[in-house]
Symmetry: C2
């Protein structure tokens, strides 16, 4: 019997983390009678006087959100990370290791209107978002080792406020995922004298099996090692190391790429597609200011939970938590679906 | 300012995987207006003629579930892993590594009645479950490197069938999590000449801060490095390496311990408490039959998603997926709540 990736289970290695994912494509045939998500509909008013992220509304702590245009950034009223915090005592017991964590948490509104999302904003409006990401990154990266810009979109991804926004959590330390990438990217560079993701982009452009969107500045692929059903990576083709490296043209092309990718996502199941996304690039802060970042490539990762429809998601539970990640369709099948779905016209405009 | 773990954010190391978790106890104060789970109520009939796991019902593939008493095990009708599958071609490109995966997936019903769960079954009935786990493990471990017994309970954990059951996925390879543990446990043993988890049990018994249940055979703790809000580990105190090592007395005590722990879980928020749980022990199969398992300790892990009530869960999204695990109350606070809640009388019986 000949091996066929779309029929025969196999494992694939994520070279960025060193972990494997189990691919079981034949499994999409099973019937689903479990939990159904609420399909996200865009039926919000553009202004909700009870939503603290809307312009002019007073937040629970008494501070009034200004009547902003464009973006608006404020310190999270319930931050996970704060700056002034005493360090825990040292422990020399390997089973009870504890370490300090300082940081900062901000919320960033994308637009004054509650009923917009990135795919329904214009490219020019998305450029404003990108410029504000860069402003924030410039300020925070001078102080912190890691600045995590991320967006949780949709209630299925734990997002508690439908107003278009993201968060920025800054850390005095390198968290687990970036630390793993730092080590693996460095090792690859030491052996190959090239950034891992530059080589990866080149080979994906040759193989052409997992490409979703391609333009001179950016490549969007469903990575060979994708875990979530429609996971994508948006990778810089210009050897950018961090988000604040981007030229004006690269920013504009990024806005167009984000709009196209998120439009494809929304059109796939005709819903406001939930996901968590975020940016990864070379570490920052005084600690990393003088270290080489040659092994890094700026990229964003999208982790969307939906599997088969607007209401049926993939659960990462049981086997996945206890043993290893597992996916039900191949990355190539997911890429083909995303490639074929319209990325220009949003279903709400049709 | 003095460091106080219940007030000041910090990081803790999981020595079994080498990853850190961020602990942000002050964060439980934030209001929650996001997705609410359906509280799981035990309002099922004991027999549902449309449920394929009930005795005597014909499954979609035409096979009739026998009128079983006790437990019933069958091959999963939609298995993620099958035995006969061709191996993928070798690849020498480090960015496109693919590996074979063979295996087997079984479903195991705990009891003929649909409206029971482990906490509402008797200890004697749970012993029947444990004995069947061991039967299955004996058979499958002769062939496979890893036999993952796991239970997904509740729709919040992706469980698509409310009948009390678990799954057993067997793998021809060591999955990511057990592989990581294998390496770390071995390294600790090489340095300390003791299994890591034996030392851990001893120190938890001295510190007495994270104990939930304690008896001569088993210790249940919220581990120092717990990720999920009410995560627990149920650890053998008898240097057992695998589930099929257990003596008749240890099995009975395990049944009592499982009943007590899951009763506490249900009583905590007065609901049928969702979780994913599973067993970890020394690897098996021809490949590991002659290797030393001295560094291993048999243990079960419970990952429950609920955070504050029957309907408010912790979402592992954005920051957690992109940067690192993060929790909102300390393991000591969670352990205290679980210690104090009744583990003898289930709220439905009150
Ligand atoms: O086989 P089930 O219970 O239908 O499926 C559930 O458990 C599996 C193993 O953890 C997961 O892969 C699925 O995502 C989940 O929905
Ligand atoms: O801050 P939010 O959006 O209320 O909270 C959400 O994102 C956080 C960061 O990923 C998570 O820790 C929370 O579990 C999630 O509900």
């Amino acid at each position: 019997m000949q091996f066929v990736a779309t029929e025969h289970q196999h494992r694939r290695l994520n070279p960025l983390t060193g972990t494997w994912v189990l691919v079981c494509p034949h499994r999409t045939q099973r019937p689903w009678s479990g939990q159904q998500e609420k399909a996200q509909k865009n039926e919000l008013p553009d202004f909700d006087p009870t939503n603290p992220l809307c312009p002019g509304v007073t937040r629970p702590n008494g501070i009034q959100t200004p009547t902003y245009e464009g973006t608006y950034v404020f310190e999270n009223d319930f931050p996970a990370l704060v700056e002034q915090v005493p360090a825990p005592p040292n422990s020399d017991d390997p089973l009870f290791q504890i370490a300090p964590a300082r940081g900062n948490c901000r919320v960033m509104c994308f637009h004054p209107k509650s009923n917009l999302t990135l795919p329904t904003m214009t490219a020019a409006e998305i450029v404003v978002v990108i410029n504000e990401w860069i402003n924030q990154f410039n300020e925070l990266s001078s102080k912190y080792a890691w600045v995590q810009i991320f967006e949780n979109k949709g209630s299925a991804m734990g997002c508690s406020n439908p107003h278009p926004h993201c968060q920025i959590w800054s850390c005095s330390f390198l968290p687990t995922e970036p630390q793993l990438k730092q080590e693996r990217l460095r090792a690859y560079y030491a052996t190959n004298d090239r950034p891992l993701l530059s080589d990866y982009v080149e080979r994906e452009l040759q193989r052409r099996e997992r490409i979703v969107i391609e333009n001179p500045d950016w490549l969007v692929v469903v990575p060979f090692w994708a875990t979530w059903p429609f996971e994508t990576m948006l990778i810089s083709r210009n050897n950018n190391k961090r988000i604040n490296d981007l030229t004006v043209d690269q920013r504009y092309n990024l806005a167009v790429t984000i709009k196209e990718l998120t439009t494809k996502y929304d059109n796939l199941f005709q819903c406001s597609f939930p996901y968590s996304m975020g940016w990864h690039g070379a570490p920052t802060g005084p600690e990393h200011a003088h270290a080489s970042s040659a092994h890094w490539t700026l990229h964003a990762i999208y982790y969307p939970p939906l599997l088969r429809s607007a209401t049926v998601r993939k659960f990462m539970v049981g086997f996945e938590l206890l043993a290893m990640a597992q996916r039900d369709l191949t990355p190539e099948q997911a890429a083909q679906k995303l490639r074929e779905v319209d990325g220009k016209c949003h279903y709400l405009e049709k």
